[in-house]
């Protein structure tokens, strides 16, 4: 009975607590990293004044946002306006519980898995729940009762729904090789095959990487926010803590997408060349560190892309998806299936 309680209640609760605790801080530091890297790309220094090298900037920002007046414009549809940021954050946080962060450790005789919930349809669930983010965005834009948020929300919804197609098809190509939807199973499949799936499915990886940037509404596909044309997109009317919730949701979604990319194509928590004995000394590094290093690399690439490319025009954005990415991903899916039949 105690064992049952500990395994099914205590350990998940502790994991959730630790994850949420780390996440709040991590999101702040992703924003900090973004400001720093963008500054470096533009030959600037970025935040420097709060703490050494500006390292305490995220904490100062959080405190400022928490103490800001909770302002709700008079013209908004209040219940939906209040609900929208919660939907975005809830959707982003729920997906996080399905990401395997490592192999898991054994502590006091209990095995603590590296994932909060190893669901056998994990990846499907992640894609489904992260699709709910669209609702949060469109509700926020609609409830704001103002033109810029409405335009931003419409753009965001159209863009996210469109790119979800290319995203899902490229994920499917990876899944066909793995033969399972479980996030842990996908990593184990890569271990058994001894190769990361990016070397088997490079095209699918390319499509996924482009689609994931668009799916999280990041530059150069940030049509939903488009500061220079839509003021602030769907959160124009939001301020203070509610605005921060949207931001938290956006950066968590970035983190989740990077984690899916790593899990599906870059071997999750596996070390490079997972089956080569000569490199066994790399196992000295805990699996969680490998995973984090890969995720951080992808977060860097996100910021790097934002610092490099100008924003797409809206019709170009849609043309890229419907005319290039979706046909390419379907073709890739068909070829994958064909090759698998021929090899079987």
């Amino acid at each position: 009975m105690t064992d049952f309680l500990i395994i099914n209640v205590v350990i998940p609760l502790v994991q959730i607590g630790v994850l949420l605790g780390i996440l709040g801080l991590a999101t702040g530091y992703i924003v900090y990293a973004e400001r720093k890297v963008l500054a470096f790309i533009q030959s600037r220094l970025g935040p420097m004044r709060v703490g050494p090298q500006g390292l305490l900037q995220p904490i100062a920002d959080t405190v400022k946002l928490l103490f800001k007046e909770d302002l709700i414009p008079g013209s908004v549809d209040k219940p939906i306006f209040l609900l929208a940021p919660v939907v975005v954050v809830a959707a982003a946080f729920t997906t996080l519980s399905l990401i395997p962060f490592g192999e898991g450790i054994t502590l006091l005789g209990y095995h603590i898995p590296g994932v909060i919930a190893d669901v056998n349809v994990g990846l499907l669930l992640i894609l489904g729940i992260s699709g709910l983010t669209t609702y949060g965005i469109i509700l926020g834009g609609w409830a704001s009762n103002s033109k810029y948020p409405l335009l931003g929300a419409m753009r965001a919804a159209a863009q996210m729904v469109s790119y979800e197609i290319a995203l899902t098809f490229s994920v499917l190509s990876g899944l066909m090789v793995a033969g399972t939807l479980s996030m842990v199973g996908i990593v184990e499949a890569q271990q058994n095959m001894g190769v990361w799936f990016v070397f088997i499915q490079p095209v699918a990886w390319g499509i996924f990487t482009i689609a994931m940037v668009a799916e999280t509404n990041r530059a150069p596909f940030d049509m939903a926010e488009a500061e220079s044309e839509l003021v602030g997109g769907f959160f124009t009317e939001y301020s203070g803590m509610r605005w921060a919730l949207f931001f938290l949701g956006e950066y968590t979604a970035m983190l989740v997408m990077a984690a899916i990319n790593v899990t599906l194509f870059w071997g999750g928590w596996l070390r490079p060349f997972p089956n080569v004995e000569a490199l066994a000394f790399l196992d000295m590094v805990p699996s969680g560190i490998w995973f984090l290093a890969k995720v951080i690399t992808f977060l860097y690439i996100y910021i790097w892309i934002r610092g490099t490319f100008p924003r797409y025009r809206y019709d170009q954005l849609m043309a890229l998806n419907w005319k290039s990415l979706i046909p390419l991903s379907i073709a890739n899916l068909l070829i994958t299936g064909l090759v698998m039949i021929l090899l079987a």
Binding site: F40, I41, S43, R44, L45, T308, F309
Partner: protein, 155 residues
């Protein structure tokens, strides 16, 4: 149908497919990431200005002969002075008894500096002339001679 008005050369399939142009752009930004930064963190660091920089006006009280040339040439009428004959300043001839320059009106053209026959009035290299009210922007002879009080930032 729409015509292609772009004059850029058409790219081959693989050039387009592998996004080589985009990778080139990313390589450029990566190089800039590690280049030295141009930011000068102003209150902590200061850029040194060129010696010819036309900053806040200063007057060397001991050499001024109160000839009124600077007052006359000033297009903004921001210089006001009075002189009198005497020996009190340790020299013969005229000296300035009072001398006001309104820096809120000065356009930093440098004409007074050029016209001064004894090089008494000159532009210094100081540029931190911000004040809390307009009266403080009017510098009298004491400030003009010894420099106004600039509070430097300290952490």
């Amino acid at each position: 149908m729409s015509t292609n008005i772009s004059s850029a050369p058409k790219k081959g399939f693989f050039e387009q497919f592998l996004l080589l142009e985009l990778l080139k752009g990313m390589w450029l930004t990566l190089k800039y990431t590690f280049k030295p930064k141009v930011t000068v963190q102003y209150p902590l660091e200061r850029e040194s200005v060129h010696p010819n920089y036309r900053g806040i006006l200063r007057v060397d009280e001991s050499t001024c002969i109160a000839c009124y040339l600077c007052e006359k040439i000033c297009p903004d009428k921001c210089i006001h002075l009075e002189g009198e004959r005497g020996y009190t300043k340790g020299k013969g001839g005229k000296y300035a008894t009072y001398f006001y320059i309104d820096h809120a009106r000065c356009l930093f053209c440098g004409l007074c500096e050029e016209v001064c026959p004894v090089d008494s009035i000159y532009h210094s290299n100081e540029y931190e002339a911000a004040v809390y009210n307009r009266a403080d922007a009017v510098h009298d002879l004491r400030i003009l001679d010894s420099g106004h009080n600039i509070v430097h930032y300290e952490r």
